[in-house]
Structure formats: C-alpha cells, structure tokens
Subunit: 710 residues, 2 copies
C-alpha cells in the first residue's frame, strides 16, 4: 500500500504543476473562487479581486421584486457603480456582469442598465455515471463522482487498482471541494442556476442515503453561488433500491416510497430543485412498463415534489418504433397528452426531432402542447460534432433554433413554450469533465459560456457572445492592435465552425451518417446485421439509384404535417423547403436542379453537384479555420496555441475522411463523377469501410487510437 501512496503523491505533484494559469483551467475568469458561505460575501469578494474602479455599492432593493428572480440593475456614475436587485443572487449576477463589462472593454465610467433573465431555470445536465465515467464526455472523468466508492477498482485488500492509479485520465489533483466551487463560480458568472450531476441513464443507487449524503455536500457548495441541485432518477428505483415488486405509479406503496424519498432529500437539501427523468426511452424503465402514460408517471413524481416546491423535468426523447419515421415519434407519444401534466411538470424536448445532429429541423413538439410546460434541451458536449477534437462553436446552432421557433410561433421561445411564464426553463448537456481545461480544450469552453449567456438572454447574437468569450478567455489583459487582429481571427474561426461541420459531415439536411456507437467519424455504409433499422445511417440517408434523402413530406412519412400549417406547406414542397433541410424532408433525384447557398455563393445545380460542393466547401473551410488560428500565434499562450492547432489539424484530416467517405459511398448510387472543382478522394472506400474505432459510449476516445486509423 505504501508504494501506491508514494505513486499517488508524486503523481499529484506532477499533475498540480501542469495545472497552470495557461492551461485554460481559469475559464473566462480571473482570481480565485471565493469560499464565502453567503452570496453577498461572494459578490463583494469577486468585486474586490476583479473590479478596477470606484468601490461598488450593492443594494438589496425590494422594489425590483416585480422582475423575474435574479434580475438586477447597474448604474455607474463617474466610475462608481451601484448594483441593485431584489435578491442577493441578483447582486452576484450584477457583480459578474459589471466585471465582464470592464474586462470586455465596455464603457464603465457612466452607464445604466437593467438585466433580467429569459428563463427561470438555466440548468446543466451532466451525463456523469456514478463510477466517474461520463457518457458522451470528452474531457476526462466526472468532477462530481470521482471520490465515490466505485470510481477506482480495488482488490480484495481494498487497495486501488494500479492501472487506475497510473492512468487517472488526466485528473488534476485539485481537491474536489475546490473544483466544485470553481464550477459553481463559473456557472454563476454566466447566470446558470441549476445542475443535474448524474446521467439521465440514471442509476437507482443515486437515491440511496449513501449517495444522497454526497449530493448534500455538493449542494452545500453550490448554494452560495445561487445554484440549485436536481437529480436524474431511475423510474424503477422503488423496485431496485426500495424492495418493492412494482414501480407502477398507481400503486400506493410506490407513491408512498417516492413521498418518503422526497422528504428525505429535502431534509438534506432544503432548496433541492427536483427530478429529471428519462423514461421508456432506449431501454430505461418508465410508466409504460406498467400500462401508464408518461403523464401518469410524471404526475406521480410531481405530487411528491409539489409540497417542497420541486419540479419534474420529463424528457420527450422517445422513439419506440411504432411509426416508420423516428422523427415523428416524440410528437406522436407526447402531443396527445397535452393538458394532462401537473403544473410542476415540464417536458424537456431536444431541439430537433432526432438527436443533437449538427443541423436539424426544430422539433415539432415545441408550441404543439399549449396546455403543457415545455423546455428545450441542447447539447454542449460534442457527441455529434467531432467530440473534443473538432472546434465547433455552437451558439450559431442554438440561435438558429431559437429563431426558427420564434419565426414559426411568431413569439419568443420562452413565451411560446410556457403559458403565462409560470415556469420557464432551458437545459443543456454539459461538456465538463476533470480535464485541466474542464472541457477537453479551451475553445470548447465557449459553448458552456454561450449556453449560460443565451439562457440568461436569448436575444444575444452568436457573434456578440463569441466576442465576449474570446476577449475574456484568450485576450484577458490585452487590448492592443495585434490582439484585436487575433481576436477578429478567432471570432471568424468560431462563427464559421458550425456551418463548416455541417458542410463536411452532413450538408443539405442529411443526418445521422455517423459511425455506429461512438458517433465520431462517418459511416454512411454502416451495416450491423440485426440492429434496429433506425440506428443505421442508411435509414436516414435513403440513398438509392434514384436519389437521396428521407421523404417526410405529405407523400412520404408526413412529418411535415406535425408543424404549424403555414410552415408545413413551406417544408412540404421541395421548391420552397429551405435547402438546409432539403434531404431531411425530401427524397431528391440526383439530377434534380436545386438552388442552394454554398459559402457565399448562391448556386443552381443538380443535387449531386451541390452535395459535392458542400463537402468540398466544408473541407476548404476546415483549412480556413486553421489559417484563422495561425494568426493567433504569439497572441495566445503557446500551449493553448499548440493544443488548438493540433486539434484543427485533426479536424482538417477528419473533414477529408468525411468528404471521401460520404461522397464515395453516395457515388455508388449516383454513379456521377465529382465536379471538376471538387478535389478527388484521397481515401479508398474499402479502407474507410474497414475503420473500426474502439470508442465506447462511456469513455473518452484515446487520441492515439483515433490517430492510428487515419
């Protein structure tokens, strides 16, 4: 055992050394996370260490109670600011806002503003397993569960498995309390006020007293930062850990079990937020198993939580194959339940009807349940956008979604989604792990930041958020001409990144052409005998000798019919359907002329040529992103520069892999040549077909492994 301790100690020293101010661990902040246990104390400490100017006045002002919780005003006169809010947490948000204004170079001499959040609950979902792994996590292991008993394997003598000790997956040895406080501070600084520390594929164990005591510790750290704790729960918990023979929501013993469990939780965590539930989806248990509806299941939990002010976030991500089109499934299952959910239930709906693709149509469920509270679920972790290898700034994807819903529902999404503003919320699946940079790489932090900012103010532009984030994170102390030029370059890179990924992965409305399981590389040719058809890329691409795309129009699956009439008509006709969604809704002949935009050019050409041009443009843009980054050399720290440079190189190589894999495969159907201005493939289809990446759903892929196959 001695040997192990020595190893651990030297490892700690080593790892501690590499966690420097330059590794991205500071995120967009300066100074340290105040350890005060009251919110006002934190606000003052932050201003003291970060604000440069007249001493700020902080006022709890009851007259601001009419505004939504957390709202604040800032008035600065001759450099001396006054922050007012109805609550201490509002003052904390005001403090961070003031600091951000100063650090992004805004006017902080004389100004006046009021800020009010777009959503009441601004929540991060962590898909962290109790064993410390993270499903779809690409930034190391969990920051929440790393100390739990089963994180490290132990032998019969209780000694930790040597391999776990030697390969702690880049875990910096910061004490976990400190790490959680930094996490809380980071969230508070951008207005995030809630989190779920366990995976939606939830372990029943999280509701055991042993684990709830762990959750209590987390909640105590989070509370001063205005952050409430929620838990993802397993619907079968009463059976697995309660010893009951059923989890039927109509069963009195089940109801009693939940009531008692909720009471136990609130005793430990008085400000507990509620439950997040994935039920009857991808093998998870749920009320359907007992002949009950989603509403009946959700309401049972809601009743138990109601006395304490808790809520249920019930996920609509379901696709049991009762309809030939998976994209219609959530609507088919949930829309008929409108009006049946209690008012402390909110339906959590992924932005698109499939699953966090680089581009989707918005989910038709939004706005289709006027008597039901709804919230959006976004994905910050890049499950489908190149993991932490590809640089993808996601704000343009999220603002596109917000705009889509707004355009179709003719009102902002927060109003559209929740009647009378009774309860508004927005969520996203986090990309945080215990890697030194929190998110796998520094650029990926921008998405955590952007989610927080959009959750606070969903009218911010992707460009404005990129500007803020890059100034705070990459150029914190630097406002000279060279830094300004580098900043412009980083913003260009960020703002083009998502469309670039769409172009080299799945342009024109193509979707889910990902490799089986890990969703990293392309596998349009994937064919797993006996697997569910709707887990196969060919199900979505529908490539054949005729053409390409999924006919979801009224002549096909009629998914278009799930949308509001005007929008449905637009989508239903290939001539008026936006080109970005063409193959999402239509099976289009290879030779059909379409009008589309590729980069800055509007082009009319046949589908095959258009497809080729988008893939080429994606590859060109991946190279252009590299160029943008090269211009930052010397302006950002050398380690960060090298790390992102390395990832952009992988991204450019992967863009080629995607382009070649998809075009060569689709060419076996189109039988048409590449247009002359499209680079010929450099890979062989047969070789690409043979690539099998050993990435599981739960482990971060090893870079060596990824490199070895290309």
């Amino acid at each position: 055992m001695k040997k192990h301790l020595t190893l651990l100690t030297s490892l700690s020293l080593f790892l501690f050394n590499i966690v420097s101010a330059h590794d991205g661990s500071q995120l967009w902040l300066q100074g340290t996370a105040p350890a005060a246990t009251n919110t006002l104390g934190i606000a003052k400490a932050e201003l003291a260490q970060q604000w440069k100017g007249g001493t700020p006045v902080l006022q709890v002002n009851k007259s601001m109670k009419g505004l939504s919780a957390g709202s604040f005003s800032i008035t600065i006169q001759a450099g001396t600011p006054t922050i007012r809010s109805a609550s201490e947490v509002g003052l904390l948000y005001g403090a961070y806002h003031l600091i951000r204004l100063q650090q992004t170079g805004a006017n902080v001499r004389d100004t006046s503003l009021v800020e009010s959040p777009s959503y009441d609950i601004r929540i991060l979902n962590h898909w962290d397993n109790l064993n410390g792994t993270i499903e779809r996590g690409y930034a190391g292991r969990s920051i929440f569960w790393r100390n739990s008993a089963d994180q490290m394997r132990r032998n019969a003598d209780g000694e930790v498995n040597e391999e776990d000790l030697l390969h702690p997956k880049d875990a910096p040895e910061i004490p976990s309390v400190e790490r959680l406080r930094q996490y809380a501070r980071a969230n508070a600084s951008i207005g995030i006020n809630a989190y779920v520390p366990d995976n939606v594929n939830a372990s029943p164990k999280v509701l055991t007293t042993e684990y709830l005591l762990e959750v209590q510790k987390m909640a105590d750290i989070m509370r001063p930062y205005g952050i409430r704790t929620y838990l993802a729960i397993n619907f079968a918990s009463p059976m697995v850990i309660g010893g009951l023979s059923t989890a039927d929501p109509f069963d009195k013993n089940v109801q009693r079990w939940w009531t008692a469990k909720v009471k136990e939780i609130y005793k430990l965590i008085p400000d507990f937020g509620g439950f997040l539930v994935k039920a009857n989806s991808e093998g998870q248990p749920g009320p359907n198993d007992f002949g009950r509806t989603h509403a009946e299941g959700a309401n049972m939990l809601a009743k138990a939580l109601k006395p304490f002010g808790g809520i249920v976030m019930w996920r609509a991500f379901v696709y049991s194959p009762s309809d030939p089109d998976r994209a219609k499934q959530a609507y088919l299952e949930f829309q008929p339940l409108d009006g049946q959910f209690l008012d402390n239930v909110i339906i959590q709906i992924k932005n698109g009807p499939i699953d966090f693709q680089p581009r989707e149509a918005y989910s038709a469920l939004f706005g289709a349940m006027p008597q039901t509270r709804q919230m959006a679920e976004w994905q910050i972790t890049q499950e489908y956008l190149g993991h932490s290898n590809h640089i993808a700034y996601l704000a343009p994807m999220w603002t596109e979604f917000l705009q889509q819903v707004k355009d179709v529902a003719h009102c902002p999404i927060n109003n559209a989604l929740s009647p009378a503003r009774a309860l508004t919320a927005i969520s996203a699946v986090s990309n945080v792990g215990n890697s030194p940079s929190w998110c796998g790489n520094v650029m990926a932090q921008s998405n955590w930041y952007a989610f927080g900012r959009l959750a606070w103010n969903d009218e911010l532009s992707a460009c404005q958020i990129a500007d803020e984030w890059a100034r705070l994170t990459l150029f914190p102390d630097c406002h000279d001409a060279a830094a300004t030029k580098a900043l412009a370059s980083v913003k260009s890179l960020m703002l083009r990144s998502r469309e670039t990924i769409v172009d080299y992965m799945m342009p024109l409305g193509l979707h889910h052409q990902f490799a089986w399981g890990h969703h990293y590389g392309p596998e349009p040719y994937c064919d797993i005998p006996g697997a569910r058809p709707d887990w196969m890329p060919s199900y979505y691409a529908r490539a054949d000798r005729e053409g390409l795309g999924f006919n979801r129009s009224s002549s096909g699956s009629n998914a278009t019919g799930q949308y509001p009439a005007d929008y449905a008509r637009l989508l239903d006709d290939p001539e008026t359907c936006p080109y970005e969604l063409l193959l999402w809704f239509h099976h289009v002949p290879w030779g059909k002329t379409i009008q589309h935009r590729c980069g800055d050019r509007v082009v009319r050409e046949n589908l095959w040529n258009a497809l080729c041009h988008h893939y080429q443009h994606g590859l060109d843009e991946a190279r252009a992103m590299q160029r943008d980054w090269e211009r930052c050399q010397g302006q950002v720290d050398a380690d960060t520069f090298a790390d992102i440079q390395r990832r952009l190189r992988i991204q450019a190589r992967d863009a080629q892999w995607w382009k070649d894999g998809c075009l060569l495969y689709f060419q076996t159907f189109s039988c048409l040549p590449f247009p002359d201005d499209v680079e010929p493939a450099v890979h062989d289809l047969d070789k690409l077909r043979a690539i099998k990446l050993g990435i599981t759903n739960y482990e971060c892929p090893s870079q060596e492994l990824l490199d070895s196959v290309r």
Copy 2:
C-alpha cells in the same frame, strides 16, 4: 507433403485465373510471345499475329552494314511493307516498329523510314538477389531467381515453409520459361538488347557452376530475341568461391582464376556480354582493398573478357568520405584515372552525383574523361519516387538529363560519352518483378517502355513516348473520340507527374530528404546517432536559422568547379543558377528574393514563400493527376482504373505528408508563417517524426503497413 502439393495446385489455379488480359500482364503488346528459336522466325510470327495489312517482306540486306547494329529500314507501298536490315535482329526490330506504327494510328499505307539506335548496348540492370528478393524492387519477387534452391525456406525434411507457400508475393504461376520469354519479347519490342539478372551488390555464388547453368538457361531463352546476358560480379569471388587468399588484381592466381571462370562462362554462353561491377562502394569489395586503383581492377577483368569480345561495365557510384561533399566524390576518384582504362571497359555513371533523386544536377563526370568510355545509369524502379505507390513517368527526367549534358558538352550524349563511337551504351535499373503487371502497376510499365525507346533514339520527346505507350497499353483497340479524350488526360497526368513529385518532395534543388533506409516518405528530421553524416537528410538540406541549401559554390565545397567553365560560372552565382538547382548549389537566406517558376507562373518572392508555394503546388498537382485519371473511367478496364485510382489517392495523401513534414520541419528554422494561399498543415510534426515504416531494402513494402501509419 501431399497437403503442400494440394495447396500449391489450388493456389496455382486461383492465381492463374486472376492473370487475365486486363491485369497489365500483356504490357504494350498483343498476342503471345513466339517460342521460335531463330530471330527471323520470331519476326515473322509477330507480324503474322499482329500486323494487319499486306504480307510483309523481310530482307537481310548486307548493304546496310554501314549502319550501327540493329538498324533497319521500312518501306510501305500500298499497305505492303518491306523491312530491310543487315541482321535478323534488325528485321525483328523493324517488325516491332511496323506493328507499333499501325497500333498507334500512324500512316501505314505509304511511307518510308530508316531507324538506327543511339546506343550499341541498351541494357537493363536487375537488382535481383539470388534468394528471389529484389533490392529496391516494388513489384514482387525476381523473375530470374524464383526457382533457385534458396528462394523458399524449407524444413529439415525439405518441405517448403508453409508461409512461403501461402504468401508467394503475388507470384503468378506462369512457368518461368514462359515469363522469361515474355520478358525477352517485351525488351526486343522496344530495342533493349542486354540485361544483368543479378544485383550489383552481387553474390559470389552467381559464378559457381550451379548458378552459371541457370544463367545459361536464361541466355538460351533471350538469344533469339537479340538479347545478350551480362552478370554483376563480386570482386572478391576468387576468395569466396575460388578458395584463394586474395582478390588482388595483380596476383597471378587471381588473374588465372578470372581467366578460367570467363572461359567457363563463354563455353556455356557463347554470346555472353560481360561483367557489371560495383567495387569499393557501400561496403562492396574492390581493388582499393588491395591497394589497387579502379582502373587496375577493371582492366584485370577486361583482359580476361577481351578474347571473347566481352566488356566490363565499372560503376562510378562511390562515395567514401574523403571529401566533405559527397557530390564531388565520384569525380575525385575517377576523373584522375582518365586514359588508364582498357578499351573494353566502360564507366557506368549515375545521371546525378548523389543517387537517383527526383531531380539532380547531372554528374560532372560526364564528358570529363575524354579518354575513357562512359555510359549513363538511370533508375527505372522508383526507389526515390514513391515506389510503386506513386505514379511517376520518368521520361521527362531522362530527357532533361540528356538535354543538360548535350547543352553543356555541345553535342549529343552518345557522342560526348564515347570517343569515336567505339562502344556506346546506356543502362537503367529495372522495375520488373513477378507481379501480374510486371512493374507493380500498369502506369509504371511506361518507364520500362520509355527507357527502351530513349535508349534506341535519345532524341524522342517524353511526350511522344507517352503518346505511344498510352495508345499501345491503355487504348489498344480504341480510336474513338472518347478514347482520344481519355488519352489526352493520361498524357497530361504522365507529363506533369515527375515535376509534381519534385514539388511535393524536394523542390528548388533540395535532395535526399528521405526516410532512413527505405527512401519512401519524408524524414528531413531523421537523426540516427552514430550514422554516417552523408546518410542523413540534414547533411543535404543544411537548414539553419539563416537559410537552406548546400553551399557547393566556390565559396563552399566548390562542386561547381567540377563542371565545364561556362556552366560552372552559371551555377556558381545564385542569381544565374537555375532555380531548379538553387538549393543544390547554394545556401540561400530564408528572406532572399528569388525568381522561380511554380507551375505556369513565374514569381519573385522570398525563399521561404517560394518553398511553401512549390510544396503546395505539388499537392495541388497530385490532386490534378487524380482528376486526369478520373476522366479515364470507362475508357480503360475497370481493374486497371481502380488500381491506379487507389495509388493516386495514396500519392495525394503522401504529398500532404511530404508537404507537412518538410515545411513544418523547415519552419522550425525559418520561423516564418505559411503564405495565405498555402494550406495549413494537417499533420503534427511530432507525429510525423514518430513514423517508422518497416520497409527493408530488400522487401516490397506491404500496403497494409504503409496505410497503417497514415
């Protein structure tokens, strides 16, 4: 043993099936190789099976004796040809020429021509080892030595090693007599009249009676096709197989041994051509080991051969490090010996002073020994041009060399090299192995063809030869518009290929930046502790903070001083030195403005930008070659199309590897950014440094291995 025989039989059937007319095994010929034992019979058989027109008249015409051996005339009147020559082999050449005229679409109704070879000896060197492997061979195993006792490993019971049986390296099971006859026919059809079947790194065993009986069989097959047999010999043979204590050329016993051995050879092979000798080079024994000069060693062998009309081809490829510049070594060792060689010795000199690089200055030895017979040695096998993975048509490299020598010496090379035409010769290292396509791929056959055609007529243009070859090989029965278009595309691909390789491997006079040992990929960063400096790429590139290139001017190693005065002056000044050889002769500052041509553009820019632009252009051109080939789909047979397509993809990937590896490495010295119109690197220098390909000098690289590292 039964089991092995069964395996062998089924293997033979399988392999026989895949050797179809479409696999390139036919080369540029149609029909089968006549088995006649007299030359006239072969000529008649070839005309009978290939000529379409009036029955040709073949006349041995003594009045043509004034022309060099093998000369012929063709007169066609109203479609009926008459071929005249002083010898039967001349009639055979005439027959092949007539057939070629017809198959390439020339006028064969009424025409008249005389053809006379540029060189007396037109000889292929095969670097084939007696165990069946081929040094620097990328097309399978030897066609000469595959039946020798030690080709396949056997166990104590004499059974063949199962692995050798199962993996016969793509060896088609054509009986080796048939294969050799096809080889003889292919050579005769393009005028090649000599070959050396064993490696210049020669085994003394080849002179044992056991092996000489094998060589006799080969010679018997070759003779009717007008092809004479030579042998590469080991200078220490009298010691190793003769049991003598020395190989000193002044030793009487040594002289007697050689005299007796030569007599034995001529008894078996009356038309034996002579010896090819690599002596005191890269570890081979030679006269220097006994205190004698190259001339003294060569003359000893020449005396033994003289009575039978045999000659000695003595290689000048030496570089024992007596001078700090390897490029000067051959000149330093050989030039002072001018006038000391007997008249049946001919010095065989590689085209450039280093070693078959994609571009070299010509070797200053050419023309510098007016009293000595000289011949050029070219390399058909692509040791330094991407093995059989890259498509490289080498005629432009060879015609460039011929033109260089002609320009500097003010006369054609065949006259320049040999006084009074007493003995003229030209040689090349073959790329032939037992792969179905002979040369590893069909396109590589063009270089065998081109060598033969240039050896016959060194004023042919690379373009004309490409046209002939492509028509004969790829479009033999097809003269329609589509084929004509495809032909133009193939020619474009071929004619740009060599300069493309120069650009993506080593532009502007860079040389030998190859990976240690196998010479496939880039390794400018190669550093093998304790290795000879002149085996290291850094020795040649001389990259430093100042600039790049080897100062061989008068202020440096003064290699320029070895050239004729006018040319030396031109080379010596970086302002007048051709840009293609700039870094060959000069160490140029990174920031110095140079004028150069990149593709079609003449540009003035600094060295670093010029270097970047050449690498980029090489990559662009590798892609353009892919496009050229794509246009041949449907016009060449499907297997050939797919095979070359696959190789061009590898080539494009490798071009990227070269560009990234070299530019990233040189950038560590220049510290300058890529110009904006140059694609950023997609590889990491550290990853590229770590690549180690398991290719030996003697084995064809496995494609899987090559693929696995990129």
